[in-house]
């Protein structure tokens, strides 16, 4: 999955590491002190939106120190434009509810202690000081220094930081900014610019890579069935779609496997892997109800549930007939009743998951309607 030579800027060559393995990169869990320029230009992941890649590292959260050059205030939040010298980015800073003035229970409670005899500690004035400190820490003007930490979001095609923490930095002699300027290039050299290498043990974790591969395989099959509006197919028809996944996989593992007695990597092994992958993917599609085998025999024919007109008509007919009977007239038929009827009349191999999809499709077409969570009736 991870190419040997990582050139993250060449889209055609570089592939994202599987999302399951992102946690292995310490940068994924850290607040990364990237330059705003890099935050704005990093590419978004195709697997999970909201995660971005800088130099093959999955990035979730960032840490920025910069001058406020833009401010917008609303009742609930601030939007500060932060400039660190390399770029400007918006940061959405939510106001803290509990420090609002007037009428909140904490103030009233504190005021009741106002006339306390104890001179050292006056809760009301302490609370007031705390509120003022909170206020001055979060209300900034243009020109002041802001520290923001939080995940990066793309909203309305603009990148912004959703601040989980933000505060005004008091920096009268620029000491904080100078140390930041000295530190960040070091961080880049030592961590950020070093590519994320999955060592061979990670790649050989069968669980991780296998489930990723399976996920991709089912995705490919689903997209194919949808695009080509397939009604029925045999495994042979879709086998070739998964070929690229398997050949890549066998290339990788072949180069890292220790030599062992047994079949060497080559066409026979990859064909076996392909068959295995195909079987597993088809099983998943069956379990989800997307396909079913109407007749279980030597000839493996899969029907795509939502496109099987006969099945849809059969279910509709069942409901039409049964809902005439007094027993079901008012409440409709329970899904399990429908399931047993379908299995008797149409095919023994229709699963509950498949039936759920059929019922949904019929309901979208306004042929039937659900009267409760698991009851349906004809319209």
């Amino acid at each position: 999955m991870q190419p040997e030579a990582t050139e993250p800027e060449e889209d055609s060559v570089w592939e994202e590491p599987p999302s399951m393995l992102w946690g292995l990169d310490p940068m994924f869990n850290a607040f990364n002190r990237l330059y705003v320029k890099d935050i704005l230009h990093m590419r978004e992941s195709c697997q999970v939106s909201g995660i971005y890649f800088y130099n093959s590292h999955p990035i979730f959260k960032v840490d920025v120190l910069g001058t406020v050059v833009y401010k917008r205030e609303r009742e609930d939040f601030f939007c500060y434009g932060v400039d660190d010298g390399t770029g400007v980015i918006n940061s959405l800073c939510w106001k803290d509810e509990q420090w609002r003035e007037q009428g909140d229970p904490a103030t009233l409670w504190a005021r009741s202690f106002g006339s306390s005899t104890c001179e050292d500690f006056n809760p009301a004035s302490e609370l007031k000081k705390l509120r003022q400190a909170q206020h001055s820490s979060s209300h900034l003007e243009i020109g002041e220094l802001l520290r923001v930490r939080g995940p990066v979001k793309t909203s309305r095609q603009q990148r912004e930081i959703m601040a989980s923490t933000y505060y005004k930095v008091s920096d009268p002699v620029m000491a904080v900014q100078i140390s930041w300027m000295m530190e960040v290039p070091q961080l880049y050299r030592q961590c950020y610019d070093k590519p994320f290498h999955l060592d061979s043990s990670a790649q050989n974790i069968q669980g991780g890579s296998a489930s990723y591969l399976l996920g991709r395989a089912t995705r490919i099959l689903k997209d194919f069935l949808k695009e080509k509006e397939v009604t029925r197919f045999r495994p042979y028809d879709v086998q070739d779609l998964l070929q690229p996944l398997v050949s890549r996989q066998s290339q990788k593992t072949a180069s890292e496997q220790e030599p062992e007695a047994g079949p060497s990597s080559g066409p026979p092994t990859s064909f076996k892997q392909l068959r295995e992958l195909l079987q597993k993917s088809l099983q998943i599609l069956q379990d989800e109800g997307l396909v079913f085998r109407k007749v279980k025999c030597q000839d493996e024919v899969y029907h795509v549930t939502e496109r099987d007109k006969d099945l849809l008509m059969a279910v509709r007919d069942i409901l039409r007939e049964d809902c005439r009977r007094e027993k079901y007239a008012e409440k409709g038929c329970h899904i399990l009743h429908i399931l047993s009827s379908v299995r008797q009349r149409y095919s023994r191999n229709v699963s509950k998951a498949a039936l759920v999809l059929v019922l949904k499709a019929l309901e979208c077409n306004s042929d039937i309607i659900s009267t409760s969570d698991s009851h349906y009736t004809i319209l």
Binding site: T67, D83, T86, V173
Partner: protein
Amino acid sequence: MLPAPAVFHFLWEVNLSTGAVKEGDSVRTFGSSFSRLVSYQPEESKATLSIQHAARQHQVVVQTTFVEPFDPIIGAQYIVLGEIEKAEGGDGVMVHARVLNCVDGVNLALLQRGVNEQRNYFRERGESKGDAATAATAAQPRAPL
């Protein structure tokens, strides 16, 4: 909606003729060294920052309309963040300040090191954006004003 990023420049680089900055660029720069905030004319909203560097006195005029009321401390060090414009009268440049902060007491040598550290890193990375030094060498020389 958001302004352009203000790249760090030293005062002596803020000069159209060297090509380090172009008109319209957003920069941040600091008046430093021996003469600092030299003068302030509130009626015209103009301040002058000055610096001694390489045996020459460099000056930059700062338009302070956006940052008023501005309480000047003559002789103190300031950092200004704003847009470069041609000065009235055609000679030299003017910075239209959006931010003008007093940073008196700043360790200037350390600040220069910080800026150079950042520039070196970008140069290593091989980019011209955000790096005034390579931009200066790459830019076409302009006719002196």
